[in-house]
């Protein structure tokens, strides 16, 4: 489509929808409401929103949605670390019932027993999966869950009387950027453990960093490399030995359901992204839920309220004496919890175990297919299996053909496929990160790997076609110069008008 910006559809005679107007009878009794508005507080200039007819608004947005490729539409492997899986439509149907959507968070508990029951039972299921003692659904995302964990560690060390002394958090280089960034937000200094040559986090580096200042240790396992660190318990024990606490980023737990549990590896807390491993859809980036599970030592520190059951009815329990307060208004995003609950119920224990096995099998199958291609490699390689994802490198391809991983990325668009490189700064050179999940079929993996194979072939025979991509996507190559230039950047249509249309 080449759909214009919505403002370009403006016609002052058009209208999208009408709003109920107060009846004359009501207006008469209410009196002159405008007179109540204090001097200077009434809107002077109507907002310059566009006037567009209803059907045209619909057409506009329908067309634009066709220019997005969600997990429902493509072979969803290329957004590694994102754990893109199938979000069953039945779960969405349930979540969109008015019995869910038309609830106000302050309703009397008697009138919301259904959703409270679902939240409570989801808490129980997640406790069983991670081995923790209590779960909060308040964080709306993984990053917010990381911030919540940093907040819990801060509150706990202060409660331990060591608030002044313990001001460092240790993380690992292949953990999510937010693990480090959210610790900073919570006033910690960040220390980073790098990987060994074989890709595992370096225990020797950890030893060098752990000391009486260590408040906590936050890591993923597997990290973005997809390697499972079998020595993880040594790590947590070392941190515990100096009075620090251990937090596990299980945003993506997809490869480990029923295999091993966070608590058993010595962690004090962990979190799951319900919008990743538990299949609730990403919605272009939220709302999701980063469900934080903690051991009983931390249960009273959680953001309040949590959902409890008194044997007869479910209720919101605000009695958390050491609560960090809140990280999100009300109770988080309950409709996301509902979808995750339905997903777990559809699978049961054996199903979750199968998820872990198949996600892993798919990844190792893909891993072998990718490494058979010319120009690919995996730095930081232990020779071991990967769990659910892997970070690859096209350094060799780049050296031999001049085709960079960003070139491959743009070319993949022409196949209607995603391809993600890596967070910055790149640790792996010319990186790309792939993650199939259990919903990916063998046919899908082959289709994806075949596309990469074709691009590799092109790189060696006709690199120009790769470098000049995309050729066949919904958009052509951007002029990227404005994005980092304050004089040119335009973060709204009105800025664009001002900067470019004069």
């Amino acid at each position: 489509w080449n759909e214009p910006i919505i403002f370009e559809l403006h016609n002052p005679g058009h209208r999208g929808i009408e709003v109920p107007l107060a009846s004359e009878a009501l207006k008469k009794e209410a009196g002159d409401v405008y007179a109540t508005i204090p001097q200077g507080m009434r809107r002077q200039k109507a907002p310059a929103l566009p006037c567009v007819s209803q059907a045209r608004v619909l057409r506009h947005f329908l067309r634009i949605t066709q220019e997005v490729i969600g997990a429902d539409l493509n072979v969803e492997i290329g957004q590694g670390t994102c754990t893109m899986k199938y979000s069953p439509k039945i779960n969405e149907r349930l979540a969109r019932s008015p019995k869910m959507s038309e609830l106000h968070p302050l309703q009397d508990e008697r009138s919301v027993q259904g959703i409270l029951e679902i939240m409570y039972k989801t808490d129980l299921l997640l406790r069983e999966i991670c081995g923790m003692d209590r779960v909060s659904f308040q964080p709306q995302s993984g990053s917010q869950a990381l911030m919540t964990m940093a907040s819990l560690i801060r509150a706990k060390v202060e409660h331990d009387g060591k608030g002044e002394q313990k001001d460092e958090i240790i993380t690992t280089l292949f953990s999510h950027p937010s693990a480090a960034a959210s610790a900073i937000v919570k006033g910690f200094k960040v220390r980073t453990v790098g990987p060994r040559e074989d890709g595992y986090p370096d225990f020797e580096q950890l030893k060098a960093l752990v000391n009486e200042r260590t408040a906590g240790f936050i890591c993923a396992n597997p990290e973005d490399t997809g390697l499972y660190n079998g020595e993880i318990k040594k790590f947590t024990e070392l941190v515990h030995s100096v009075g620090g606490y251990c937090a596990y980023d299980q945003a993506n737990a997809n490869g480990l359901f029923g295999i091993t549990r966070a608590r058993d590896a010595g962690f004090d807390m962990c979190f799951f992204n319900l919008h990743k491993s538990f299949s609730t859809p990403h919605g272009c980036g939220g709302p999701g839920t980063g469900a934080v599970g903690v051991s009983k030592d931390f249960a009273d520190f959680l953001p309040a309220p949590v959902v409890d059951f008194d044997g007869e009815k479910y209720f919101l329990n605000d009695e958390l004496p050491h609560s960090i307060g809140k990280v999100r208004v009300y109770q988080g995003t309950p409709q996301v919890v509902l979808k995750a609950y339905a997903w777990m119920r559809a699978l049961g224990a054996e199903g979750l175990y199968e998820v872990a096995k198949i996600a892993s099998l798919n990844n190792n199958y893909l891993y072998k297919r990718i490494l058979e291609l010319r120009g690919t490699s995996v730095p930081f390689d232990s020779g071991e299996q990967r769990v659910e994802q892997a970070r690859y490198s096209f350094q060799k391809l780049f050296d031999e053909t001049g085709v960079s991983t960003e070139d491959v990325q743009r070319r993949m668009c022409d196949f209607g496929l995603h391809y993600w490189t890596s967070h910055h700064p790149y640790v792996v050179p010319q990186p790309f990160t792939l993650e199939p999940t259990e919903f990916t079929s063998k046919e899908d993996i082959d289709e994806y790997a075949d596309a990469i194979a074709q691009i590799v072939e092109e790189a060696y025979t006709n690199p120009e076609i790769v470098k000049s991509a995309p050729h066949n996507s919904s958009a052509h190559r951007n002029d990227e110069s404005p994005f980092d230039d304050p004089k040119q950047w335009a973060i709204s249509w009105r800025s664009y008008q001002k900067k470019f249309e004069d």
């Binding site: 109540t36 969600g70 709306q140 995302s141 907040s151 939220g286 709302p287 995003t333 958009a475």
Partner: protein, 468 residues
């Protein structure tokens, strides 16, 4: 188990023959050989203890919807709860768009294959910018509380100061979020509101402001529904001492109330939930942060900011991340706060909502609320023993009802309203000292005269007194 775990509709490769073939390729003899890196001592040597799989979609539907049936909704009852989560009408097209598989299941594609996602969020930013009369709006934050907390942290970085003054008269949840988010980096000082006026006092404010203050945060309309008549003066006081003025607002009222930027706000923030999101038991929140196109502030956003550009094709637009290097995606702990999943789908939906409403829709929305709230307040204050606080002031949709002279507690009254299928206002007792016996009622455009009359009638019955 009745079923072996094969052929599950969600797991295509859960079939023995397929597994066999793939294991052969990988070079293992069965899937049990996977995870060999997980040491035995860490392995769970049993099945997870949870209910059996519900394999058929019908049984799953019946089970979960059976649980949901225990809920009573705001459509089946008349709801007067607001307090940060508002019952507005959601146009059918908002749901039509946000349930489209393409965007519901999308995440983080690149500007080329996910061109539409960038356009949707750029348009959201642009539409909000018009509503707010500002130039820069972020890709949505978690909720309005997070937006306020981040706005304060932005002010911290922009000013290099470590103290913020926050007016007491905001949603208590929001204050709790701000406190946690700013601890320990900043000191949060609360500016009380005056019980008799519902407003904060400029003299008290003056005492708190100083060279060490990064920002003042207050809201209009406030938590109690009152309009901050002294907003301009407060902003001037901030600017005089080099602090930023951050104003929280409800976007649904901006068709009738002046945009906070024109009162002097440097940063404006709030929640997009009123703009086309169902309440979802609190799950419909999403935060916005807005500024003018001032590089000093733009570089302090932690959020993604989508910008527009041109492409190699004449007349075509492209989109991308503005100043990506600010973010934690680009620079881990050296980035501004952090970024990740937030509430993008609600941003997209708010964009659809504003496109439908246009200027006239937003103006009429505000006007209808003004009338309904005023009518409701007058009507309730006619019920014997009941009074409405701050009745002489302006309020758009929320107002405080004082039941303290009725001889009944807010809890008792709400219990009896509930049995009449009415959700009464939020009890303010316990939230703010001095507000015992008071409740915060909310009316919006969804309330008809009959709804309001039903409330008044029910209160007359409950309180055993005739309306005047």
């Amino acid at each position: 188990m009745d079923h072996k775990f094969s052929h599950h509709p969600y797991i295509p490769n859960s079939d023995e023959a397929i597994k066999r073939e793939m294991c052969d390729f990988v070079g293992i003899s069965s899937v049990e050989e996977l995870h060999r890196d997980v040491p035995d001592e860490l392995r769970l040597h049993r099945s997870l203890d949870m209910p059996k799989a519900i394999r058929s979609e019908y049984e799953l539907y019946r089970t979960v919807s059976g649980m949901l049936q225990k809920n009573e909704t705001c459509e089946e009852n008349i709801n007067f709860l607001g307090s940060g989560c508002y019952q507005h009408y959601v146009p059918a097209i908002c749901d039509e768009i946000n349930s489209r598989a393409e965007i519901l299941s999308a995440y983080a594609g690149e500007p080329y294959e996910d061109h539409g996602r960038f356009q949707l969020l750029f348009e959201y930013q642009s539409l909000m910018a018009e509503l707010l009369d500002m130039e820069v709006v972020n890709v949505p934050a978690i909720d309005g509380a997070q937006a306020a907390a981040t706005a304060i942290r932005m002010a911290e970085r922009a000013t290099g100061r470590k103290k913020a003054v926050v007016c007491e008269n905001i949603l208590p949840d929001k204050l709790a979020v701000i406190r946690n988010y700013c601890t320990p980096a900043m000191e949060i000082v609360v500016l009380p509101f005056e019980r008799e006026s519902g407003q904060f006092d400029l003299d008290s404010l003056k005492k708190l402001l100083g060279e060490d203050v990064a920002a003042l945060y207050f809201e209009t309309p406030s938590f109690l529904g009152t309009v901050a008549g002294n907003a301009r003066e407060a902003a001037e006081l901030c600017h005089a001492c080099g602090a930023l003025c951050i104003i929280g607002t409800d976007p649904a009222v901006l068709g009738v109330l002046e945009a906070p930027v024109n009162l002097g706000a440097d940063i404006v923030c709030g929640d997009v939930q009123p703009l086309g999101m169902h309440m979802n038991y609190g799950g419909g929140q999403g935060g916005f942060i807005a500024t003018m196109d001032d590089e000093r502030l733009v570089r302090e956003y932690p959020s993604r900011l989508f910008g527009i550009t041109r492409t190699e094709v004449e007349g075509e637009y492209g989109f991308g991340d503005v100043y990506y290097d600010r973010t934690s995606f680009a620079d881990r702990e050296h980035g501004k706060e952090y970024v990740g999943t937030q509430a993008a789908l609600w941003g997209i939906t708010a964009g659809v909502y504003l496109s439908l409403m246009g200027p006239q829709g937003m103006q009429e929305l505000g006007e209808t609320m003004l009338y309904n709230a005023r009518y409701a307040a007058k009507k309730l204050s006619c019920v014997g023993g009941v009074s409405v606080k701050y009745l002489d002031q302006c309020f758009v949709s929320e107002f405080v009802v004082d039941f303290s002279k009725t001889g009944k507690s807010v809890g008792e009254i709400n219990d009896q309203l509930l049995s009449r299928q009415i959700f009464g206002g939020r009890d303010l007792g316990g939230l703010f000292p001095g507000m015992e016996g008071c409740a915060l009622f909310c009316v919006t455009e969804v309330h008809t005269k009959d709804d309001i009359d039903a409330l008044a009638g029910a209160l007359c019955e409950i309180l055993g007194k005739e309306g005047k």
